[in-house]
Structures are given as structure tokens and as C-alpha cells.
């Protein structure tokens, strides 16, 4: 079986997660993630055609709440905990690229 995960995959995932990994860490994580994926491959070996994908482990559906207003938080208190605030808003660094 080919390598379940490449260095490039690990670097890509790290970039998406905004993780700055050293060369050694990439090396180490590639091995570790390969081990985890190898375990998943054991399950893939089973015939699961008739088994629906599990989206949630609990046998529950329709956990709903009534459309009733609850008090919100105090703005001053919330903004005081933000790294930066301006103009009653959360101040964030300049964003590159458009919203998804």
C-alpha cells in the first residue's frame, strides 16, 4: 500500500490550520498521522456497503428550542475581553481575500 499521507498533505493541513511546523515536526506528524490512517484502513477492509454513515453517535433527532428571545451579553464586558476593540466593534487585522 502506498503511503497513506504525504509530507505535502501534512504541510497543506498545517497551513489551513495556521500551524507553523518545523521540519522535524512535519516529519514526526507525517509518521503519526500515517499510523492513525492505517488504523482507519482496517475498517475500510470491512464490507460496509449497507451501513449508513454515522453523523452523530447519539440516537437522537430533533433537539429543538422554542423561538424565544433570551438576554444577550453586555457589550462592554465582552469587548473588554477582546484583544482589540474600536467603535463598539471587534478590531481585527487587515483581511486578505474576500469572505468565503
Amino acid at each position: 500500500m502506498a503511503d497513506p499521507i504525504s509530507r505535502a498533505d501534512v504541510e497543506h493541513v498545517a497551513k489551513l490550520s495556521r500551524l507553523a511546523l518545523t521540519e522535524d515536526e512535519v516529519e514526526h506528524l507525517t509518521r503519526e498521522l500515517a499510523g492513525i490512517l492505517g488504523h482507519a484502513a482496517d475498517i475500510e477492509a470491512l464490507d460496509l456497503d449497507d451501513v449508513p454513515a454515522t453523523a452523530h453517535p447519539l440516537p437522537l433527532v430533533n433537539v429543538l428550542r422554542e423561538d424565544e428571545v433570551r438576554p444577550s451579553l453586555d457589550r462592554a464586558e465582552v469587548l473588554a475581553q477582546a484583544p482589540l476593540a474600536e467603535d463598539d466593534r471587534f478590531r481585527v487585522p487587515r483581511i486578505l481575500g474576500e469572505a468565503p
Binding site: R65, V69, V78, R89, R91, I95, L96
Partner: protein, 484 residues
């Protein structure tokens, strides 16, 4: 090849904010225009340890949409996390339905053509970013400020199939969609305020081809009119590009309303990879028969059925019925006026004529006018029983649109009641004729053209003498009897 040798293919993605009292997963108020960051809580801020709970009203509204657009509603649907780094969501992901939407495979009839709707799914809206410095443009900005009031507001995203071919058809689709969403009470569908947002996927292909061309996604149209303009511009742009040897690239393009063009947005670094995975904090939605029955019962008469009924019962034209149904509140007003005893055709004429013109001119909504269905019905009666000529009725209506007055009171106050008495009107005609012997002479000796002119003059004098209150049919007859 010329533009005529290409066919445009379009699909529309419509985001509509649902008119619930609270957000999708928390009890914060769902409201447009609140003070920034006043409708926020641990859930919609994504604070550690907070847990989302789905709003039952959102599910009900989604099921109404399911009914109204003939969707299949699968036994269960689930939410996913769409992961990205962009500060419009404090959680760094947006909760949305991905490959398992609540509504699948519906359709909408637009002018007799069935447009397929691939899916409609629930998702949360994002916060609002303001870019500071650099003239408000994102790339030149110094930093951004974020208001999370809108983060977590419930949306339905309704995705059509790529089955439209002209700007007109796309506008027709959105107009019909908007009318239905309003009629079933799930949204206030205001494109101008952003509670309904339309993105258009536009591509072109040679006529006769059945493969889809590369599409551009056009955003930022805030009215039906700008949707039409943006699509027309984009089709021409793509045809010119291909004709000059270029190639359409898959990208998002922004519609610039004042310049009348679309322009490409700097593309994101690297490819999009949202790493969707099932939201572990939410359990599946499995609509029961009872939930679906509630949604079905809540749906009133849909616009197409309402138009059909008005045409059949009131004998009005399809165009007039469309005018009533597409103007907010007008159809309900018409129904109430007819229920108060007025004929549908008269009611339609007043509403689609004078009343609509007044609304357009003043920018007011029907709800704030002093005119009520009862008063309009009274006006219709004053015309049909001969008390008022249609011309005077216009004046009276004008006054009732501006002032909280009854038509009958206006008539009494201004002495406008139409005079039908033949004796009284005959005396008026005689007096006018006695003072215009020369004109009568010219009338009797003139050719057809001159006769028509002189008769018109005399009729005008007679109307003037009656101060506009003489019944014109009676006056015309009396005048003719004396002249011929």
C-alpha cells in the same frame, strides 16, 4: 461568432434571512439595525463550552419552503462545519448544511417554464465587517472592525439548477421566488436591505452545445434591476472575451452598480478547502409527519393561485393581477376591499392606477396610508351609484390618500356630488347655448372636423357651467338633442 450565436446559461443562488424572533442556534434577537454587538452571546460568539440548539421555527420555515417549491424532504438532514479563517465568524467556521440539505429537488414555474431548484438548506449568516482606512476597500484597509449581530442569523440558501438563459428569465425567477417567500411568511425579502441576496452563476456556450461553459459567479446585486443589468453585462463580457481569443476563468466577480460593470476579485491564495465535517454538537433533523402538516397548514394562497383566482373571479387581466400580487400588501388590500362589497375590477383599477402611483411617488407603504379597504369600497359605491363621476372620484381618492377622511365626507364637504337631474342639467345646457349662437351656427354649417371641434368646445362650456359636477353622459345626450 456574434452574441446571437451564444447561449447563456445561468443558475441563481438566493440567500434569504428568515423572519424568526431569534438566531439559528441561540436566543439572541434576530434584528436588522440594532446597535453593533448588542445581540451576541456565548453561542454565537463561539465561546468555549457553549452549545448550539436549533431554533424550531427555522425548521418550520424550511418545511414551508419545502412545501411551496415542491421539494423532497429527506427523512433526515444534518449540519456540517465549514472551516475557514476569516473573522466574519468568531468560531472560525460556519455551521451549514452541506451534502444533506433539508430540501432537495424542487421547482418553480416562471411564465409557464419550470425552473429546477437543486436544493434549499439551512445555514447561519455571518457578521458584518467594516474596513477602516484605504477608502473602505478591503485590500487597502489598515484594519477591519466586526459587528457580530448578524452572526448566527438564520438563512435559507436556495440553489437553482443552471436552467435559465436570459436576464429577463432570471429576474422573473427571483420575482416569483420573492413573492412566494413573502406569501408563506418566512422572510421580509428585502433585496435593498440585504435580507434577500442573489448571486448569479453565468456561463456561455455556442448555441446547440450541451456542455456547460466555465462560469463566473456574480455578486453584489441589490435590486431586481441591478440583477438584470449585471447578467446582461456579464454575458456580453464573456462573449467578447471568447471572441477575442480569451478564456473565461472560474472566479467571483463583483457588480459595480454605478459603473455598470462586473470586476474580478483578487483570488484567494491557495485553493479553497473548507474541510467540511459533520457538526458534532447538533443532532440530525428528522421532520415528522406532524411537523410537515403544521408547515403545510401555515402556507396561505401562493401568488400563482392568487393571480388565477383574481383573473377568474374579478375578470381582470393577468397583467393587473400580477401588479396586485407583486406589490407588497396590495393583493390583501384588494381582497379586503372586495370583501367590503366592491367589485374586483373597480378595486383593481383604483389600486393599480392612482393608489400605486401615489405609493411610488411618495415612497410610502400601503400600511401607513389613511385609506382603508372600507373607504375604497365606499368610493367604488359612490361611482357606481352615480354620485361621483370617475374624474371627481380621482380627486376624492387623492384626498383620502393624504387625509384620514371618508369619501362621503369629502363629497359633502366639497359639494362634489354629481348632478344627474335632467331638468337642472337641461337648464344649464340651454343657458350655455343661448350665449353661443355664433358657435352653433358654425357647428351647423361646418364639415365633420369643424363640427367635432365646435361640439367639443360647447361640451367644455357646459361642464364648466356645472362646475364639473354634471353627469357627463346625461350632459352629452342633452347637448346632442338640442344641437341636432
Amino acid at each position: 461568432m456574434s452574441e446571437a450565436e451564444y447561449e447563456a446559461v445561468m443558475g441563481l443562488e438566493v440567500h434569504v434571512e428568515l423572519a424568526t424572533a431569534t438566531k439559528l442556534f441561540c436566543g439572541c434577537v434576530n434584528e436588522f439595525g440594532s446597535e453593533p454587538n448588542t445581540n451576541i452571546c456565548p453561542v454565537c460568539l463561539g465561546l468555549p463550552g457553549s452549545l448550539p440548539v436549533l431554533n424550531e421555527k427555522v425548521v418550520e420555515f424550511a418545511l414551508r419552503i419545502g412545501e411551496a417549491f415542491h421539494f423532497d424532504v429527506p427523512e433526515r438532514s444534518i449540519f456540517h462545519r465549514k472551516n475557514y479563517f476569516y473573522p466574519d465568524m468568531p468560531k472560525d467556521f460556519q455551521t451549514s448544511q452541506y451534502d444533506s440539505p433539508i430540501c432537495a429537488d424542487g421547482y418553480l414555474e416562471v411564465d409557464g417554464v419550470r425552473i429546477g431548484i437543486e436544493r434549499a438548506h439551512m445555514e447561519e449568516d455571518t457578521g458584518k465587517t467594516t474596513h477602516v482606512g484605504g477608502g473602505g476597500r478591503i485590500h487597502d484597509a489598515d484594519h477591519s472592525n466586526v459587528d457580530y449581530n448578524r452572526a448566527g442569523v438564520p438563512l435559507m440558501e436556495i440553489v437553482s439548477r443552471p436552467e435559465m438563459h436570459t436576464a429577463e428569465q432570471a429576474k422573473g425567477y427571483v420575482s416569483e421566488l420573492r413573492g412566494i417567500l413573502e406569501a408563506i411568511g418566512v422572510s421580509d425579502v428585502k433585496m435593498e436591505e440585504g435580507s434577500m441576496r442573489v448571486d448569479a452563476n453565468v456561463s456561455i456556450r455556442p448555441v446547440g452545445s450541451d456542455t456547460l461553459g466555465t462560469r463566473a459567479e456574480i455578486k453584489n446585486m441589490n435590486s431586481l434591476r441591478s440583477l438584470g443589468r449585471a447578467i446582461e453585462y456579464e454575458i456580453s463580457r464573456q462573449v467578447e472575451l471568447v471572441e477575442s481569443g480569451g478564456r473565461v476563468v472560474q472566479e467571483t466577480r463583483h457588480w459595480d452598480e454605478s459603473a455598470g460593470i462586473t470586476h474580478g476579485m483578487r483570488s484567494k491564495e491557495g485553493s479553497e478547502d473548507y474541510r467540511y465535517f459533520p457538526e458534532p454538537d447538533l443532532v440530525p433533523v428528522a421532520p415528522t409527519d406532524a411537523m410537515r402538516a403544521t408547515a403545510r397548514a401555515a402556507i396561505g394562497e401562493l401568488p400563482a393561485a392568487r393571480r388565477e383566482r383574481m383573473v377568474a373571479q374579478w375578470g381582470i387581466s393577468e397583467t393587473d393581477a400580477r401588479t396586485l400580487v407583486e406589490s407588497p400588501g396590495l393583493a390583501e388590500f384588494a381582497d379586503a376591499t372586495v370583501a367590503a362589497g366592491a367589485p374586483g375590477k373597480d378595486v383593481t383599477n383604483w389600486l393599480s392606477g392612482e393608489v400605486l402611483a401615489y405609493l411610488n411617488e411618495t415612497g410610502l407603504s400601503l400600511a401607513v396610508l389613511p385609506l382603508t379597504p372600507g373607504k375604497l369600497a365606499e368610493l367604488c359605491t359612490l361611482v357606481s351609484d352615480g354620485t361621483l363621476s370617475r374624474n371627481l372620484a380621482k380627486d376624492v381618492l387623492g384626498e383620502c390618500l393624504r387625509e384620514p377622511k371618508d369619501p362621503k365626507a369629502v363629497v359633502a364637504e366639497r359639494g362634489l356630488a354629481q348632478v344627474n337631474d335632467e331638468g337642472e342639467l337641461g337648464a344649464l345646457v340651454d343657458a350655455v347655448l343661448a350665449g353661443n349662437a355664433e358657435t352653433i351656427e358654425e357647428y351647423r354649417n361646418g364639415d365633420d372636423k369643424l363640427r367635432k371641434k365646435k361640439r367639443g368646445f360647447l361640451m367644455g362650456e357646459v361642464m364648466k357651467a356645472s362646475k364639473g359636477s354634471g353627469n357627463p353622459q346625461v350632459l352629452n345626450r342633452l347637448l346632442d338633442e338640442r344641437l341636432n
